[in-house]
């Protein structure tokens, strides 16, 4: 059954039809929320909240856009609200928490992947929320600029500029992390070489 049919049935009050939509998009919405807030428990709550809001307002959805982009828009707004409140009340993020969610096979690969993931999440965390959303929607969800502009507002051109800017900033942050680590390693090596008196 297509999204449009499921949405029509949901608008008529068919809860199982809506739950079918939930099953279809829960991973994408959860992934988006995870990228946005970097917290698995909060991401789960935000994803549920997004689906609940979508269900409550499903009758006002006129199917001008795709259900998927409309749902992403709701999820992004939920994440923005959460980030705003977190900024207000100050709740530091634990990037390691996300690593626990993944199941890595071997210890060495696990260490490498964890390191890579940690650096990426830290770099993502330093991006403005809108740029983070653009990166996630473009790279992970595979939305076009037109669809991104429907989700985030603005124009397709603005979405393209945001995406490019986000990649550059991310690259800069990751490089800074690398330089910092190299500097830390070299300083440790130098410190080890210095004879203790």
């Amino acid at each position: 059954m297509t999204d449009a049919q499921l949405v029509s049935r949901s608008q008529a009050g068919d809860l199982p039809a809506f739950e079918e939509l939930v099953q279809k998009y829960q991973r994408e919405v959860y992934g988006l929320a995870c990228r946005m807030v970097s917290d698995v428990e909060e991401a789960k709550d935000l994803a549920q909240q997004a689906f609940l809001q979508a269900f409550v307002h499903i009758r006002s959805f006129r199917q001008d856009a795709q259900f998927r982009t409309w749902l992403f828009r709701i999820a992004i707004n939920q994440c923005y609200n959460f980030l705003k409140s977190r900024r207000k009340f100050g709740d530091p993020i634990d990037c390691d928490e996300l690593n626990l969610a993944g199941a890595e096979p071997s210890p060495e690969a696990d260490l490498l992947a964890q390191d890579q993931r940690r650096r990426l999440y830290e770099a993502l965390e330093r991006l403005p929320a809108k740029q983070r959303a653009v990166i996630t929607l473009k790279v992970e969800q595979g939305l076009s600029y037109q669809e991104i502009s429907q989700v985030l507002g603005g124009t397709a051109g603005a979405a393209r500029v945001n995406y490019c800017q986000a990649l550059k900033t991310l690259k800069k942050h990751i490089q800074t992390e690398d330089d910092h680590e190299v500097a830390m390693r070299s300083s440790k090596t130098v410190a080890a070489r210095v004879p203790r008196r």
């Binding site: 809506f18 890579q116 790279v139 992970e140 490019c164």
Partner: protein
């Protein structure tokens, strides 16, 4: 070459087969292979994209989704039972609160404008209201009886210049408010109908200008006398609009 790099940098993530216009693709295709700075920038951007793609959000355990679905199902059922589902978006925007608040404001504004343009001293009084009094009925209200007792009045037409000998005016007439509507009586034996003359649009100076000094004196005295004996009635509008 550098200006091209600056222009093309924002399109680099789309190279070679991204969401770009055809001319943009061809421009990139002709520039990037020959520009080392752009090639390096492109390689770094691809590394970043590869890092994101290589680090997807970890897939939670199967029980996670079971719990997710159960929790969400409960919330959805609760929302459906409480009737939280929003009504269908059929209501016109004209029935929304801002428009509903705006309607009375618009009505008040229109009323103000109407009063402003039709108020005292405004063009509506150019109609030179003509009110014919009916034949004296036995049980009329007091005002009409009073008018009847003043007997046989007629109004002076605004256009027709009043004969100097027949019309009197108060000496302080120019000081009087513009809202005055004066009913002027004619001589005895004149027909009964009384006309109310709007003095606000009556140019007294122009009327007096055509008279000799003696005629003016007689005219003003007569007006003053008529005002005293009650044959000259003053009426006020409900409000002065300054």
């Amino acid at each position: 070459m550098k200006w091209q790099c600056a222009l093309l940098k924002r399109w680099l993530p789309e190279y070679p087969d991204g969401d770009l216009p055809a001319w943009g693709k061809s421009w990139l295709g002709s520039h990037v292979p020959g520009c080392s700075a752009c090639r390096q920038e492109l390689a770094e951007l691809r590394q970043v994209i590869a890092a994101i793609e290589a680090t997807p959000v970890a897939e939670p355990a199967p029980e996670f989704w079971g719990e997710f679905s159960r929790d969400l199902h409960l919330k959805l059922v609760q929302a459906a039972q409480e009737g939280q589902a929003a009504p269908e978006a059929t209501s016109s925007r004209w029935f929304r609160l801002p428009y509903l608040l705006g309607a009375p404001a618009m009505a008040v504004l229109l009323l103000y404008v109407a009063v402003q343009f039709t108020g005292p001293g405004a063009p509506i009084q150019e109609q030179a209201v003509v009110m014919h009094l009916p034949a004296p009925p036995p049980a009329q209200d007091q005002a009409l009886v009073k008018r009847e007792s003043a007997a046989k009045r007629a109004a002076v037409s605004r256009k027709a210049p009043a004969p100097a000998a027949e019309v009197a005016a108060a000496p302080a007439l120019p000081m009087e408010p513009m809202e005055q509507i004066v009913t002027v009586a004619l001589e005895d034996g004149a027909p009964l109908p009384v006309e109310e003359v709007d003095l606000s649009s009556w140019d007294l100076d122009a009327e007096l200008a055509g008279m000799t000094d003696q005629e003016k004196h007689v005219f003003l005295n007569k007006m003053h006398q008529r005002k005293k004996d009650g044959s000259c009635v003053e009426g006020f509008s409900f409000c002065s609009w300054g």
